[in-house]
Amino acid sequence: MATLTEAQKRGALAHPDVDLHEEVNRDILKMLSAPGKGWWFLFSLAVLGVGLMFGSWGWQIYRGIGVSGLTSPVGWGAYITTFVFWVGIAHSGTLISAILFLFRAPWRQSIYRMAEAMTVFGVMTAGLFPLIHVGRVWHAYWLIPYPNARYLWPNFRSPLVWDVFAVTTYFTVSSVFFYLGMVPDMAAARDKATGFRRKLYRVIALGWRGTDRQWHHFGKAYLFLAALATPLVLSVHSVVSWDFAMSIVPGWHATVFAPYFVAGAIFSGVAMVITLAVPIRKVFGLEAYLTTKHFDAMAKLVMLTSMIVFYAYLTEFFMAWYSGEPPEKQMFWNRLFGHYWWATWIMLICNGMIPLMLWFKRVRHSIPALFAITIFINIGMWFERFVIIVTSLSHEFAPFAWGVYRPSLTEMGIVIGSFGWFSFWFLLFIRLLPPVAIAELKEVIPPRMRRTSGGHDGHDAVPATAPAGD
């Protein structure tokens, strides 16, 4: 006799307003229909951003890296800041889809597709910045592990090469994960769509038909991918943090960096998911799928990570004082009260103070409040990276060589444009691919049963409502 699974029971609570599997198809696939004005407006904004970004970058390549505000001693600035920012954003996706999958968190189904898309596009954006910031981008391919004419290979001791491996691996794996999870939904789309889209989805769906054999292997593969992606997601931002921690720069050279960055990444990532989910939910009327329960759960995650991050800040300041080393001590003093004090305080307030509001249930349940808070968090997290990078470099060991860095317009153009680049892909995604996982939603919606008795107690189940048609 068929019985309800745990997931279905809890899922049933997660989506009280969704009864039938058919409704899921209807509601989700509806989003793939012809875009409206709002979408076109946002999309053209995004295209402008892309133009701004590549225009500025082209100018920089033509004139030389000097058009940026970077200088000695601050050799890294807005570019690397933005790189780390986007890599951080990219972390929520795999976290929500993989880790929460392993933990069987009930609320992930409706958001993980969006989160994964965010991951893929986040990495696509982040990946550009190392290229943008190098002085001779036309030689950047030398970082790829291949021997040059004299059989000289890259230096595998360099954290930058680690980065190349980590980020490319992360991009590959999360793309695969993203795609694999989507195959059944593409089949669903295929079976409903017509004309060009049908052809498109047929190809993407790879001929998926949902036979028992396919589901069987699919399930296992998905599980193992999740199991692999989990350590990966933790490693990637650790490696990114080692770009700094492996150096000897006061303010960078700290063992706390790996966990500190991972927490920060999840923090910013989940915040960004909320920031994006709120408008999409509104525009596409997904209230039934993205309930306050989901936001509440994400808000709790944000609150937790925010506290970890803030703790890391305090640890850094304590260790600097405790080390007794003048360079270290003075660097952190300078961080709080020096030339870039304002950036530091933006960081502390946006990432440490404002999220404390999430202790209140009313705040966690107020969508507008969450939206506002997460915007602040996004800003704060960009400044966190700015503070770590710039204040440390500007105030290093040799006092006579201390310096100041002012971002240039070109730099700002590229940084702002990168948001356009990200939105460009994300907007295409919500129009062309199902932004909510159809198949997995059905897992948590009680299947139709013809016999009735028992209820959700593990015995024979009742259909939530009478069968449609028949």
Binding site: V173, L206, T211, F224, A439, R448, D460, P467
Partner: protein
């Protein structure tokens, strides 16, 4: 492999499960079911064992680890260049590379394994297939002919399917 048989679509999960069970009791082992989501009742009814995909994952991962260490070690010995006074062969630094390659190879092998095991990709359009399968309905296909076909049809009909069709299944 294309075989002819009978396909029935059901609106209800329990009827589907009952039909499958009855078919298997009647000695039909080749039954294929369709669902819009991973439905473990069906898998149970069909009595699946462990998926071989996990082996692919393991082998892929280990290959990655080995490659990562061998590759980095070889390249640094191939042309010894000292940087920062570190030993030419500085394995701790290479752990990161090896780790990433473990994940990469493991993941790719997993997907490959899944594709091979579940006969994907396969875009040849199915002859007997109900688009509703991807939406809400469940399906049962029994490859059979002659008297077997009649028996199968009888069993399937017994659980009043939304519809039954006969033909070949790609």
């Amino acid at each position: 492999m294309s075989q002819s048989g009978i396909l029935a679509s059901y609106d209800y999960l329990d009827s589907t499960v009952d039909a499958v069970k009855e078919l298997r009791d009647a000695g039909f082992d080749e039954v294929i079911t369709y669902a819009a989501y991973p439905e473990h009742h069906l898998e149970d009814a069909l009595g699946y064992g462990e998926s071989p995909v996990r082996v692919w994952t393991l082998v892929g991962g280990l290959t990655g680890t080995a490659t990562g260490f061998a590759f980095t070690a070889w390249t640094s010995m191939d042309w010894p260049l000292i940087t920062g006074g570190k030993p030419v062969l500085s394995m701790p630094a290479y752990v990161v590379i090896a780790f990433e390659m473990t994940i990469l190879f493991g993941a790719l092998a997993t997907v490959l394994g899944m594709f091979i095991n579940s006969r994907l990709p396969n875009v040849t359009p199915p002859v007997v297939y109900d688009p509703e399968f991807s939406s809400g309905r469940y399906g049962v296909f029994v490859p059979a002919s002659g008297t077997d076909l009649d028996r199968a049809r009888e069993i399937l009909r017994k659980h009043d399917p939304a519809e039954t069709r006969e033909g070949a299944h790609a």
